[in-house]
């Protein structure tokens, strides 16, 4: 019985997916069902894949500096489509000063370079556990 379904996604035009593939592999090994979108997906494609695949969590990976726009776009599309029960986390080269804004928009956790696998696994597991009805969910930043 898998522990949960997760979509790892690469929004925008950035082709660097070492990190995305690594995290996907890590989560699979930890017992999650993981779908990886591949690179260069639009926010629309990502949200529709997330709904179609019935995931509980989307992990966005971005190294191009376009996170402010693209992460926000994914969140607002989820809300528009009534799918904001799907949680969003993110990772990549994201400067510390952008983190509070992304959190306030609703990104549950941001993993910046150097984050350990353990801390990613702990956060994901906690988020999925907290995702019981009536629970507002928690927010976390890990560096």
């Amino acid at each position: 019985m898998p522990k949960g379904r997760i979509l790892i996604a690469k929004p925008g035009l950035d082709g660097h997916d070492r990190g995305a593939k690594y995290v996907a592999h890590l989560l699979r090994d930890a017992g999650y069902e993981v779908i990886y979108t591949g690179i260069r997906r639009s926010p629309e494609e990502i949200v529709s894949a997330a709904i179609q695949e019935d995931v509980q969590l989307i992990g966005l990976s971005l190294l191009s500096g376009a996170h402010n726009f693209l992460f926000e776009r994914v969140l607002s599309l989820l809300a528009q489509q009534g799918a904001d029960d799907i949680m969003v986390i993110g990772g990549g080269t994201i400067p510390a000063k952008d983190v509070p804004r992304l959190q306030s928009l609703g990104v549950r956790a941001i993993f910046t370079p150097g984050t350990s696998a353990d801390s990613i696994l702990r956060t994901v597991s906690r988020l999925l556990e907290e995702r019981s009805p009536g629970d507002g969910g928690g927010r976390d930043v890990t560096t």
């Binding site: 035009l13 950035d14 191009s64 400067p95 000063k97 370079p113 150097g114 560096t143």
Partner: protein, 555 residues
């Protein structure tokens, strides 16, 4: 083979001094290995082959098989080109950074383009929101390129452009701007990366499927051999393959496998090997494991020379020379304790120089998080200058040559790469190996294994999984403002208004016809379109119609 008398003496040593030492204090580990996981023995001894086989395996610098370097005097004659990769926001701002770098002693330019430019989209395309000017400079039309190189003497400075799928267009723009300023194309020197195969493997900035992409590459080879003879028509890149997680051996193997595919395509198009091979160049990463990296460069040089001579029958020695640019390894930089990155970059740059690089980019300490600040870039450039002028390693050719360890590693990397290339040949060549996901899987496995070894602390990364600081001071990061896109879109609109619309339509029609006829070289119609101020998005749009777009295989 180790000579008999040394073997005997070694046995005495191992039963005496060594045994005593290890019984008192055991070694730190049962197994020692390079950063790429190659086994490293306690001690390397001279082998008979190193003297008996010297001429065949190492030879002399500037001569086949070029193990010790491609030039007889190496850095005693001329230092490598100090070429810092840079570009951001708009053409004017990037132009200012280039002039700054040249003022500070850079000896060549290297242009970073933003992602929309790299995948052939105009800045006003809605897919580009958030990306314009971010990882490089935004270029839409010739107008931008004119501003990018304003005040830079194109007949004196060589320019490298990290551009792949739309390489033909950017090359055409460079030629066009030079000619408008009275610099003839045969005087131009520089490099386009133009290596689409590694985009499918590792970097992701592809547009068209492999076959038409290879045709464009081969059209560029043919055009430049006639018209722009000093231009390096491709920079076959291991760098991004390494960044994606490949080992040193895989970096050499997959890069040379890609080289084989480009060469075979050009030969099939009717070019002769010595007509285009002298203008092929390479691009590798330099990581921190010094000996492994130096060995890698030497192994790549020797192996390429052998391929060119034996597999492709090259006669011109310049066709057999592996000339390469090096960049220090971006993935080795840490966001934690960023000052430490200066030290990492120093070791990596030293490896590149000891390995005989022709040009070098040193990363800046803040690049784990953002594009570098001017201050950080200056330290990175100074690092090269200190190696060049203070370290003394430039005073002799191949200073580490003859090190028992280095020669052993050089052989080992060469053998490992040969095994991989044979496997790729068996799969039907590199395009097949990409299409079935073989190469991508091999790299991903290496990346995962490396990551696990850091997680499990079998490998120490200072400041990350050991020797951590409690408080990480926030450093000032370079930032590209979001308004850049609006400014760039405005400029593009103004160019569209000013230009002769009929000339654009005519040029694009001619390009469409040329694209539909595989016997027509694409460079002349692209040049014409560029001169008419057709945009990159418009030109790539025509080519997309004819060639289609590459779809990544789901893994």
């Amino acid at each position: 083979m180790i000579p008999e008398h040394i073997k005997k003496a070694a046995k005495v040593w191992s039963e005496g001094s060594l045994k005593q030492a290890t019984s008192r204090s055991p070694e730190r580990s049962e197994r020692f290995e390079t950063a790429s996981g190659q086994a490293v023995e306690r001690l390397y001894l001279p082998e008979e082959d190193q003297v008996a086989g010297y001429v065949e395996k190492l030879g002399f610098p500037g001569e086949y098989p070029f193990t010790r370097g491609i030039h007889p005097t190496m850095y005693r004659g001329r230092l490598w080109t100090m070429r810092q990769y840079a570009g951001f926001s708009t053409a004017e701002e990037s132009n200012r950074r280039y002039r700054y770098l040249l003022d500070q002693g850079s000896t060549g330019l290297s242009v970073a383009f933003d992602l929309p430019t790299q995948i052939g989209l105009d800045s006003d395309d809605e897919r580009c929101v958030g990306e314009v000017g971010k990882v490089g400079v935004a270029i839409d039309t010739l107008d931008d390129i004119e501003k990018l190189f304003e005040g830079i003497p194109l007949d004196q400075v060589s320019t490298s452009m990290t551009i792949n799928a739309p390489a033909a267009i950017l090359l055409a723009m460079y030629i066009a701007v030079a000619e408008k300023r009275g610099v003839m194309r045969e005087k131009l020197s520089g490099t386009i990366q133009n290596d689409v195969l590694k985009e499918y493997i590792a970097r992701g900035s592809y547009i068209f499927p492999p076959q038409p992409s290879l045709r464009i590459v081969s059209d560029i080879f043919a055009f430049c051999s006639r018209e722009v003879p000093r231009w390096n028509t491709i920079s076959i890149s291991g760098y991004h393959i390494r960044e994606a997680g490949a080992t040193a051996v895989q970096e050499v193997a997959f890069t040379l496998a890609n080289a084989i595919a480009y060469i075979e395509t050009a030969l099939a198009a009717g070019l002769s090997i010595d007509q285009f091979a002298p203008r092929l160049t390479f691009f590798f990463a330099a990581h921190t494991d010094l000996f492994e990296e130096v060995a890698k460069f030497r192994a790549a040089r020797r192996l390429y020379a052998r391929f060119m001579k034996e597999r492709f029958g090259a006669k011109d020695p310049r066709s057999m020379m592996l000339r390469f640019h090096t960049q220090t390894g971006g993935v080795t930089l840490t966001a934690q304790q960023p000052d430490n990155n200066v030290v990492r970059v120093t070791l990596q740059a030293l490896a590149a120089v000891l390995g005989g690089t022709q040009s070098l980019h040193t990363n800046s300490k803040d690049e784990a998080l953002a594009l570098p600040t001017e201050e950080a870039v200056t330290v990175a450039l100074r690092t090269q200058q200190i190696i060049a002028h203070e370290s003394g390693v430039t005073n002799t050719v191949d200073p580490l040559g003859g090190s028992y360890f280095l020669e052993h590693l050089t052989d080992q990397i060469e053998e490992g790469a040969v095994r991989y290339i044979r496997e790729i040949d068996d799969l039907g060549g590199v395009v097949k190996a990409i299409e079935c996901g073989y190469i991508q899987r091999e790299i991903e496995e290496s990346a995962y294994a490396y990551g696990r070894s850091v997680e499990e602390k079998r490998r120490i990364v200072v400041g990350v999984n050991e020797f951590r600081s409690d408080a990480e001071p926030e450093i000032e990061l370079f930032e590209v403002p979001e308004e850049v896109r609006a400014r760039q879109v405005e400029r593009l609109e103004s160019v569209r208004k000013r230009r002769d619309k009929r000339a654009v339509i005519k040029a694009l029609d001619e390009l469409r016809q040329a694209a539909n006829d595989p016997r027509t070289n694409l460079m002349p119609p692209i040049l014409k379109a560029v001169h008419a101020y057709a945009s990159i998005g418009e030109i790539c749009g025509v080519l997309r119609e004819v060639f289609g777009e590459y779809q990544e295989m789901r893994q």
